[in-house]
Symmetry: C2
Subunit: 374 residues, 2 copies
Amino acid sequence: MTTTDPGAPAPAVVDGPPSGERRAPVVVMTDVARAAGVSQKTVSRVLNGSAHVRPEVRERVRRAVDELGYRRNAAARALVRGRTHVIGVVGLRSALYGVSQHVMGLERAAQASGYGVVVVSTATGEADEVLRGVERALELGAEGVVLVEPYFDTRALRGPLAGTPVVAAARSAHEGQRAWTVDADQVGGVEEAVEHLVDLGHRCIGHLAGPTTWRSALVRERTWRAAVEARGLAVVEPVRGDWSARSGYEATCELLAREPRGRVTALVAANDHMAVGAMRALAEAGLSVPDDVSLVGFDDVPEAAYLPVPLTTVRQDLALVGERAVASLVELVEGHGRADAGDEPRLDVVPVELRVRSSTGPAPRAAGGGRPPT
Amino acid sequence: MTTTDPGAPAPAVVDGPPSGERRAPVVVMTDVARAAGVSQKTVSRVLNGSAHVRPEVRERVRRAVDELGYRRNAAARALVRGRTHVIGVVGLRSALYGVSQHVMGLERAAQASGYGVVVVSTATGEADEVLRGVERALELGAEGVVLVEPYFDTRALRGPLAGTPVVAAARSAHEGQRAWTVDADQVGGVEEAVEHLVDLGHRCIGHLAGPTTWRSALVRERTWRAAVEARGLAVVEPVRGDWSARSGYEATCELLAREPRGRVTALVAANDHMAVGAMRALAEAGLSVPDDVSLVGFDDVPEAAYLPVPLTTVRQDLALVGERAVASLVELVEGHGRADAGDEPRLDVVPVELRVRSSTGPAPRAAGGGRPPT
DNA sequence: CCTCGCGTTGACTGCGCTGTCAGGACCGTG
DNA sequence: CACGGTCCTGACAGCGCAGTCAACGCGAGG
C-alpha cells in the first residue's frame, strides 16, 4: 500500500508524498473555455444550466465540452459550494436478503433526490465501530448518514457527532432515541401472525428467535411473547438462532427434543430462512407442515411461495423503508437551518402484510398442551 | 427538489442558487491552528502523520482537534491532492443473493486498500444506462469503476470513457473485452456439475436456463450444452427462467409437460433459487428428488444445505471475486503512469467448488430417453 | 568563536470551481 | 439624442487544504 493513509503511523517521508503521484484531471474548465472562445465563468454557467447565456454560445460550449471529454471536478465544486450532495450509508456487512433489498431502495431514492451514496460497512456492528463508520462516511464527504445497523443505540451519537443528520433505518427505535427512525412494522407483523394462528385454533405457539444482536429480533420475540400471554396461552421458551437456515434447523430440533410431542402446534420463525431450516427439522421428525405443525416466517423472500410447502410469512417492503429513510435524511440535511435538532426524533413505521400460504392450517384436534379455548 | 441538478433544464434563477444555501463546515483547520497556537500548515502536518513535528506540538494539535470536533474537508483535500481515493461501483439494482454478497466483498476490500466506495445502481443494465452510470460515478469523484453489470459489453467504453480504469466483475468476458475482468469459474462449475451427474449414470440431463440478459446465464447454458454434446448425450432444449424460484417452478412444469416422463433424469438449474422452484414442481408431479430426478443448483445460498432435500450446488465465492476486482482496480488506478492501457485486458478466474448433497443420486435404472452409455 | 546542517515551523501559493460584481451591448422610451 | 433597463459576459476573489520554500533554533564540528 503506497497511499498515505490518514491517521496511520507516520511514514518516513519528509512532508508529503513525493510529487508526481498526483493525477490531475487532464482537462479543466479553462481548457473548455479556451476551446469555445469564452471565459471560464461562461462555461460554468452553461454547465450549471444558468439562464442568460445566448443559445449560440451555449451550443459552442457544449460542443467544446464533448470534444474535449470534459468532466467537472467534483471536489472543486463541493469545495466552493460547501455542499457535496452525498449521503452515507453505514451498515453491517451482510448478504442477508433484507439488507441488500434495503440498500437498493436507498440508493435509488438518493439518486432520485440528486444525491450520491457512499457506503461504509462495519464488520460487527458494535457501537464504537459504528461511530468510526459514521466518521468515515463524513470524511468521505457525506452530509448525512443512514444507519443500517441492527443494534446500534443512537444515543451513542454524542460529542462532535451530535449534530450530524442521521436516520436509522430498518431497526426498531430505542427508548430515548436520538435519531429519526424508519422501520417496517415489526410489532404489527408478529401480532398479525399470532392472531392468524390463534384464529386457526392453535393454543401453543412456539417461537424461533433471531440473534440478540439484532434489535428487530428482540422486538419480534417480545411481541410474540406479549401476544401469546395476552391471550392466556402457554409460553414455550423460544430457542434462538442467527437468521440462518442452519440455525432454524438446529433450533427446531432442540425445541422438538425439549417439548412433548404434539404440544407445540405452531411455530413463528424470526425470518424465512430460519423457517426453511425448521421445515426440514419437522420433516425429519416425521411431522407434517401444516397438518401437525403450522409455520410462519418473516420477510417474504421471493422463494417463500415456491418452497415444497409454500410459506405463510410477513411481507415487509424494505425497499420502501430505504426510500423513506432517504426522504427523511434529505429533509434533515436540507432543512438544517430551521428548527435544527430541536424537534423530537420522528418514528416512521412502514406497514407490513401477512401473506397466508400453505404452511399454516387448523390446529390438529388432539392438540396436547395449552389451555382449552375460553 | 431545490438542488441545482447538473444537466437538468435551467431553473429560472439568475446565476446560481440563492446564497445562504451553503452549509460550510463549522470548524476548519485554521481554527484548530489558532486553538493550538500553531500555523495551519502544522495542523496539516500532524493530521497527515508527517514526521518533523515535535511530540509536544503534535499532542497540543491533537487535543485541539478533539476539543473542536474538527474533521478534514474531503473536497478540499481531494482538490489539492488531485486524488479522491474513491472508487465507484456501478451495478444492476438487484436484491439477488449473489449480488449483495459481491458488493459487500467489494466494499470491504476497498476500505482495506484505503478507498471509499460510491455506488450507482442502474435499473435495466442497458448499455447507455450503464455508460451514464459510469459518468455519474466519475462525477462523484470515482477514480475508477467496478462494473457489476450482468450483460454490459465493455467495448462500449469508447470516447472519453476509453481511458477510465474499469474492472468488470462477476460476469464472463466478452470476446474483444476492453476491460479487466474478474469472475467465478462459471465454465468449470457447470462442467463439474455435468460430470458429477454423468458419473452417477445420468444420460439425459436437462437445463433450467437463466435470463438471456445475464451473460453468466448464457455461459452456463452454453457450457451445459457443450458438456452434454461432448459426451454424446441427448440435448433436451432448455427452458428459460429469470433466476427466481417462481420461474424455476414454471420452467420445470413446462419441461415436464413437454418431455416424456422418465426421459430427463437430471436437471442443472442456473441458480439455487430456480432449483428451489424446480423441487416444488417435481414434487407436485409426483417425482422424487433424487430418486426420479437429480437436481443441481448454482451459488450455494446458505439455505441450500437445509432445504427439505439438501441441494447439490456449485459454490462460488463472490465476496472473493469482489476483493480481487478491487485489487485489480487499485492496481489500474495507481499504476496509471506506467504501461497505461497498453497491456491487453486481464482475465481473472476465481475457482468454484461443487458441493455434493442429497439432491443428486444414481440415475434410475429404467431411464427412458437418451442413448445407452457407449 | 563561527559555520554547517539538521530538525522544526510558518508564509505563501494554487488546486478547479462558483459567487459577486461590474461592464458592455442592445433595446425601448422620453 | 440621452437615459434607464435588460440581457449577456468576464475579471476577480476565495472555498479549505497540502506543496514549496525559506527561515528559525540549536547542537556538532572546525
